[in-house]
Amino acid sequence: MAKRVAIVGTGQTFHKSHRPDVNGQELINEAVQRALRDAGLTIGDIDAIVIGNMDHFEGINYVDCWSVDGAGGFMKPVLKITTGGTTGCTIAIGGYHLVASGMYDKVLVIGWEKNSESDTSGAITTAFDPIWDRLVFAGAISGLAAEAQAYMARYGATDRDAARVSVRDRKHALNNPHAQLRKEVSIEEVLASPMLADPIHLLDICPRTDGACAVVMANEDSAEKLCENPDWIWGTGNRHSYAYIGDADMGRLTSMERTAREIFKKAGIREPRKEINVIELYQPYSFAGIIWIEDMGIVPPGKGAEYIWSGATDMGGELPVNPSGGVISCNPIGATGLVRCAEAAMQVMGNAEGRQVPNVNFAVSTGFGGCWWTDMILHGKKKPNY
């Protein structure tokens, strides 16, 4: 039987499009120091480290090796996990497994990226099949655009519906001092921004960010001593669906559907819309804000836009999504999934400050990336009942 695990501390850097004031190691250290301070620990208390980024992005691989000083990994077990866009969430799942297995008591999880030091679209393209995928593939935006077209054709959604999501997240970001972009926009401004790949406008999509995030996980024995309100991890899951982009069911995120079903069933959640209080969705562009809440089972297929327009996912609504401003407001790719995890943890712990949703019992954080992969974590205020 797995041990119960909780998040007892989180730390994020100051995020910006370009951080020439620090190198990668120093950037990592900024997040690590904050997470340790938040947990009331020193590096000596940490038993193992899980670290990850987009690997080939900066043109310097083996982050587990060269970051040791900044990560605090000197003479400790350091494991690296890289799974593309999902990396930040996968390292959290990896850290959870290390503690839940009973192998380690306290594990430090670190995600980071200096996107300014790479060509993101070019680098992402090389993650796909050289023979079959690369001729026309243009990084993340092209695939997401094809997904949006398929969804719109199937359900009659429009780019105005998507713009409503962008308006929401950019407004939420005003409450988050860690968000890179903090400027309110209108629906008309989103629709008038340059078309990148039909139907994605510039203001529909995430930026590239330099930043890092760190999270401290502890087993049940330590967590309750360290933290008054730890964030208990109720379940984690991930699903990979296929090899070539053309195999995907364009317009639906089947990996999200399967992962959510597994986790909610395990936790006994029958009506996610009512039982979950906040979602930190790895939503790289606005259209996903409509499509993926359907796949998660929050609303039925084709009803996402209606739910967004009702204001239900705004702060103060039935189920706020992305109180942090989400990925559209800040996207240090290898850290992005871990930022979702950290923000969900802060919501459960009650220390999300200006972006706090009241009375959070359950929160969900997700990761998205690779070939339409989903990683997911269910966070809870109470201890898991299994």
Partner: protein
């Protein structure tokens, strides 16, 4: 791998199934898929294993060459093509083609001379290169035919 005057030290294997695809494309202008003996799904490009069934596949099936647009986008932003190191010429049509008789989508360029014609469900056909070399560029692009 070569691009213009530059050569890169990569030499990717396409495998036996992919080789069959490129030989038929080059010599006979035929599009080959492969059928899973368990679920019956026809995959393009052909490959050795059906992932969901985890079943070996060997039954090649000719598909297309006509089909329709499963989904698409038109790329309008500037980016560096990692295949060439140069900026990719934009705009271009990025199509996911469903060949007649296939169950998966095949990615390629779509002609966007008349953007209004480019939509999901539109019938398309491949435009073959005059001199074919057994590469993905033996199909130059797809054009909307209705």
């Amino acid at each position: 791998m070569e691009s213009g005057d530059a050569a890169q030290p990569f030499d990717y294997a396409v495998g036996m199934h992919g080789s069959k695809f490129f030989k038929e494309l080059r010599d006979n202008k035929k599009i080959m898929g492969i059928r899973c003996p368990k679920c019956g799904k026809v995959y393009v490009p052909p490959r050795g294993v059906c992932g969901p069934c985890f079943q070996e596949m060997s039954e090649f099936v000719e598909v297309g060459p006509g089909g329709y647009i499963g989904t698409y986008t038109i790329l309008r932003f500037a980016f560096i093509d990692p295949e060439t190191g140069h900026q990719k010429p934009v705009p271009y049509g990025y199509g996911f083609i469903k060949f007649d008789g296939a169950d998966t989508l095949f990615q390629h360029y779509i002609d966007i001379e008349d953007e209004k014609k480019v939509k999901i469900g539109a019938r398309v056909e491949p435009v073959f290169a005059a001199e074919r070399k057994g590469t993905i560029k033996d199909i130059q692009y797809f054009r909307v035919v209705d």
